[in-house]
C-alpha cells in the first residue's frame, strides 16, 4: 500500500465529522425524549387525575427494582450528558466554521441555507436558554407563574392561564420545530443514511413528519389551557 508523502502536520484533534456524529447521536437521544415528553404532556387532555397519576408514576417508574426517582435520575443524567456533548460540539463547529472564512464576500446572494444555518445556531442557543427556564419553572418551581398550586396538573393550568407564559412556550416550540426539521435530516446525513436520491426523499419526509408532530403535540396543551378548553 502506498503511504502519503505529505507532512500531516498539526491536525485538529477531533475531526469535524466525529463532532457531527456526537451531535447526531445526542440529538437523536433528545428526539426520543422529546416524543415521550410530548406524549406525557398530552395526558392533560385525559383529565387532571390521569395527569397527576402520570407525574407520580414517573417518579416510581421501575420500582421496586429502582429506588424512588431512580428512573428519573437515569433519564436526567443521560440528558445532561447528551446536552453537554451536543451543545459543546455545536459551539466547537460554529467556531471552526467562523475561522474557515475570515474574509467575507462583498456580495452574496440571499440564501435559504444561510437562514437555516442561523436558525440552527441561534435557535439552538435559544433552546439552551429555554431548557434552563423550563427546569426552573416546572422542575424546581423556582419560577412560579399564575400563583400557587397543589398538584402538577394545577401548576400546568395556572401557568398557561398567563398569556406571556403561553407565548414563551410557543416560541420555544417553534424553535424546536425548525431545529428538528433540519436536525433530523442532518443527523441522517451524518450517520450515512442518505446513499441515494430516494433515500434523501425519505429522510426529508421523516424530518418533516417528526417536526410537525412535535410542534402540534407540544403546542396543543398550552393553547387548550389558555383557551379554557380543559376544565
Amino acid at each position: 500500500m502506498a503511504t502519503s508523502t505529505i507532512d500531516a502536520g498539526k491536525r485538529p484533534k477531533t475531526g469535524s465529522i466525529l463532532l457531527k456524529t456526537v451531535m447526531a447521536v445526542s440529538g437523536l437521544i433528545f428526539v426520543g425524549f422529546i416524543l415521550a415528553h410530548m406524549y406525557g404532556n398530552l395526558m392533560i387532555f385525559a383529565g387532571r387525575e390521569t395527569f397527576n397519576e402520570y407525574a407520580h408514576h414517573l417518579r416510581e417508574f421501575g420500582s421496586p427494582m429502582l429506588p424512588e426517582k431512580g428512573f428519573l435520575w437515569v433519564m436526567r443524567i443521560t440528558l445532561i450528558v447528551a446536552l453537554v456533548a451536543h451543545a459543546g460540539s455545536a459551539f466547537a463547529l460554529w467556531s471552526r466554521a467562523g475561522k474557515a472564512r475570515t474574509t467575507r464576500y462583498v456580495q452574496r446572494k440571499g440564501q435559504w441555507a444561510t437562514f437555516v444555518k442561523r436558525s440552527m445556531r441561534w435557535g439552538g442557543a435559544a433552546l439552551l436558554i429555554f431548557v434552563v427556564f423550563h427546569i426552573l419553572h416546572f422542575t424546581t418551581n423556582t419560577i412560579q407563574i399564575g400563583g400557587d398550586y397543589d398538584n402538577p396538573a394545577d401548576r400546568l393550568l395556572n401557568s398557561f392561564g398567563v398569556w406571556w407564559a403561553v407565548l414563551i412556550y410557543l416560541f420555544a416550540v417553534a424553535c424546536l420545530g425548525m431545529h428538528l426539521l433540519h436536525g433530523i435530516w442532518s443527523a441522517g446525513m451524518t450517520l450515512g443514511l442518505n446513499r441515494s436520491l430516494d433515500a434523501a426523499e425519505r429522510l426529508r419526509l421523516t424530518a418533516i413528519l417528526v417536526a410537525v408532530v412535535v410542534v402540534v403535540g407540544f403546542a396543543l396543551p398550552p393553547l387548550a389551557i389558555f383557551l379554557g378548553l380543559i376544565p
Partner: protein
C-alpha cells in the same frame, strides 16, 4: 451590451485588495464570460494598466480552473462553469460583481486567482488507488456491476473547481471529498484502501482549515456538475465504518 463590472483587485497575497469599477461596452451576448473578461483586459493593456488576473485552462467546462464568484453565486447564475457561462445570461446595463472564492483554505494569489492546492493535498492524502503499473489489464478482468459503475461515474464528474467550498456557508470541502471517496468506493479496486482513505482524507481536510459540513446543500446547488449531497453521507458512513473496523 453595456455593462458595469465591479471586480476584486488585489496585487498579491499580502495586499488588502478592494473592488474596482470598470464600465465595458460592445459585449456580445454570444461571448463567454471569460471572453468578456479578455475584452476588458485587452482594453486595460492598451491603456497601460495591469490586466485582471483570472484562471482558466480548458474553457470547455472540464478542467475546473475558472471558478469565480459572480453576483454572489459560484460560477454565476447558471449551473455551469464560468467558462461555459455566456453573456446572454445577463442583460444590457447590468452591474456584475466578480470576486475570488472566499475560504481561508483557498488564499487569494492575485485578483480573482486563488490557491486551491489544499484540494491536491487532500487527494494526496488518500484519493487514489495503489496498483501495479505495467500493461493494462483486460477491460473485463474485474467486473463492475452497472449500478456501481454509474454511481462512480456520477461522482467522478467532479472537476475540483472549488465551487462547493465557495458556496458553503461554512467553507467546507466535503462535497469535493465525498465525490472522490464515493467514486473510488464504488469500484472493486478502491476497496483495499477504503478505510485508510476516508480517515486520512477527512483528517487532511480539517487540517487545511475547511469548515465542517452542516448538510445545508448549497454545495450541491452550486456544483457545475450537479453532484448530489448523498456523496457526503456516503463519506460519513464510510468514516463510521472505518472507525468500527479499527476498534
Amino acid at each position: 451590451m453595456k455593462l458595469t463590472l465591479k471586480i476584486w483587485r488585489q496585487s498579491g497575497p499580502e495586499d488588502k485588495g478592494g473592488v474596482v469599477t470598470y464600465p465595458i461596452e460592445g459585449v456580445s451576448e454570444d461571448m463567454s464570460f471569460l471572453e468578456m473578461l479578455d475584452v476588458l483586459n485587452e482594453g486595460l493593456i492598451a491603456e497601460g494598466e495591469e490586466p485582471v488576473a483570472f484562471d482558466s485552462d480548458c474553457r470547455e467546462g472540464i478542467c475546473g480552473m475558472c471558478g469565480v464568484m459572480i453576483n454572489g453565486e459560484a460560477h454565476g447564475p447558471e449551473r455551469t462553469t464560468t467558462c461555459q457561462l455566456h453573456m446572454r445570461s445577463f442583460r444590457d446595463g447590468d452591474e456584475i460583481v466578480i470576486e475570488p472564492w472566499r475560504a481561508d483554505a483557498f488564499p487569494v494569489i492575485k485578483d480573482l486567482c486563488v490557491d486551491r492546492s489544499a484540494f491536491d493535498r487532500i487527494i494526496q492524502a488518500g484519493g487514489y488507488i495503489s496498483a501495479n503499473t505495467g500493461s493494462a489489464p483486460d477491460a473485463h478482468a474485474t467486473p463492475v456491476p452497472k449500478e456501481n459503475a454509474d454511481r462512480a461515474f456520477m461522482a467522478a464528474e467532479c472537476i475540483g473547481c472549488g465551487a462547493c467550498v465557495a458556496a458553503c456557508p461554512n467553507a467546507s470541502g466535503m462535497l469535493f471529498m465525498g465525490s472522490k471517496i464515493t467514486h473510488l468506493g464504488e469500484f472493486p479496486q478502491g476497496q483495499p484502501e477504503r478505510d485508510a482513505r476516508v480517515v486520512s482524507m477527512t483528517a487532511q481536510h480539517d487540517h487545511e482549515g475547511f469548515g465542517g459540513c452542516t448538510n445545508l446543500g448549497e454545495c450541491s446547488r452550486a456544483c457545475p456538475k450537479g453532484i448530489p449531497l448523498n456523496v457526503i453521507s456516503q463519506m460519513n458512513g464510510d468514516l463510521l465504518r472505518a472507525q468500527r473496523h479499527r476498534s
